[in-house]
Amino acid sequence: MTRLFAWGALLTGIVFFLLPLYGMTEFSLRMRRGVYSLDAYRAVLVDPQFQATFGYSVVMALFTIAFGILLVVPTAYWVRLKMPELRPVVEFITLLPLVIPAIVIVFGYIRLYNTSSWLPLTGSAMGTNILLMFGYATLALPYMYRAVDTGLRTIDVGTLTEAAQSLGAGWGTILSRIILPNVLGAVLSGAFLTFAIVIGEFTMAALLNRPAFGPYMQILGANRAYEPSALAVIAFAITWACMGLIQLVTRFSKHERAKA
């Protein structure tokens, strides 16, 4: 009875998960009448709009990751080393982006940083790009901070710092050559998750009017039949790759620690 129920639940769930994946793959191969073909993928890949928006989102993701690491690693390190009393406050702030919907945050950006404000970021394309990058960094903050903080927990921050200091290292050296290499696995996990979030993000990019991959997909979806399915397959593959890389990195860094 219990067994039957367990298998029933599992099978229902698995069918529910597999059907849309099957549906989008099958649909994406049907562009040419009567035979399976990769025409939809070809149509997407040669579209200059696809190349431009995808490239834009990749670059935005890389900048977001770089900024996120620069912001989160020193902060998490400093809080652990010198200001443990601040931990609850910092943790609370990093969880806020999960509470406040992204659409509300970007709404605030548009009103706070418009052309007639004290910091008119939306006045120029470059300024808006920077604002969007900060927005993405905000969205990724909960994941990035938790990943790095978990990584820092596994090393003895205090001893490492004292050892480095007694050898004459400054703060920059300690962070870049002692702390960062030690939490690299955690940082990379956060980075890949950030990439997965940024690459298909729609709301912020659309409302800030930036030519990103998310809004491009939405417009294509409203106008074409087969290409959207091809995009869905590509997006799913990217998400899968990011999660796979996270698992790989986690396993690899555990292995390294075991050897040491």
Binding site: A6, A9, G13, F27, S28, K82, I103
Partner: protein, 289 residues
Amino acid sequence: MAKPVTLSQHLPLRWLGVLPFFAFAVLFLILPTLYIVIGAFRTPQGDFTLDNIIGLNTPTIRNAYWISVKISFWSALLGCVIGFAMAAAITVGNTAKGLRNPLMTFSGVASNFAGVPLAFAFIATVGPAGIITLYLRTEFGINLRAYGWNLLSAWGLTVTYLFFQIPLMILIITPALDGLKREWREAAAILGATGPQYWRMVGFPILLPSILGTMALLFANAFGAVATAIALTGPSLNIAPILLFAQIRGDVLGSPNLGYALAFGMIVITGLANALYIWLRARSERWLK
């Protein structure tokens, strides 16, 4: 932790280390949110007023919130029930332990596979011209539409959201299920409890705060989602995030401050759901550590 004695021990320098983080948080997280919250209680001239909040009580806006709440509630409830059953099957069920790793990995992927592409996947499958829809019609003569199925509706959106809600539930509840100690089950069995009795009187009450807490989290998760809804239904479905999206784009409500109030209402709802989650999680940690 021993503290190295350097000049930077003095208080102002110590705070310098967290200054960039707090500057970032204030400028790009807290101030923008506060701006919206304050705007919700202001007239265009800048005086304090409650008119914007009262102004939310129109049929359109009330309806938008209500449909959003319904979609979020049902997708959270179904996500919880199905996700819990699947997580139980791979942990305590002794049934399919071999499926555990694949399912956990897949859940990690699927819980992040949201937004526009998710809508495409469902349109291709059970949309008006989707693979399954056409297959059922041509092979079995079943017209899903005649049975009331419409993907581009509140129920369609609920089913679509389940694709990331169920995996999220699996990811959160599996560790909780692992926390159920074998000794509790054995103790119950020694005292003569049957399997269902153990679940009803021991296992389930211990897990209940975790389950309800996760449900609150799933609710907030669905409530703030914009991209999937827009890609699935366009601007036609009247739910709170889509209404807010249209308001930001083109002031469809005809009053910027009413727009702030609409956004403020969303913060209140997701905030309450998250507060419930945190409170229930703290309760669940009493037993499951």
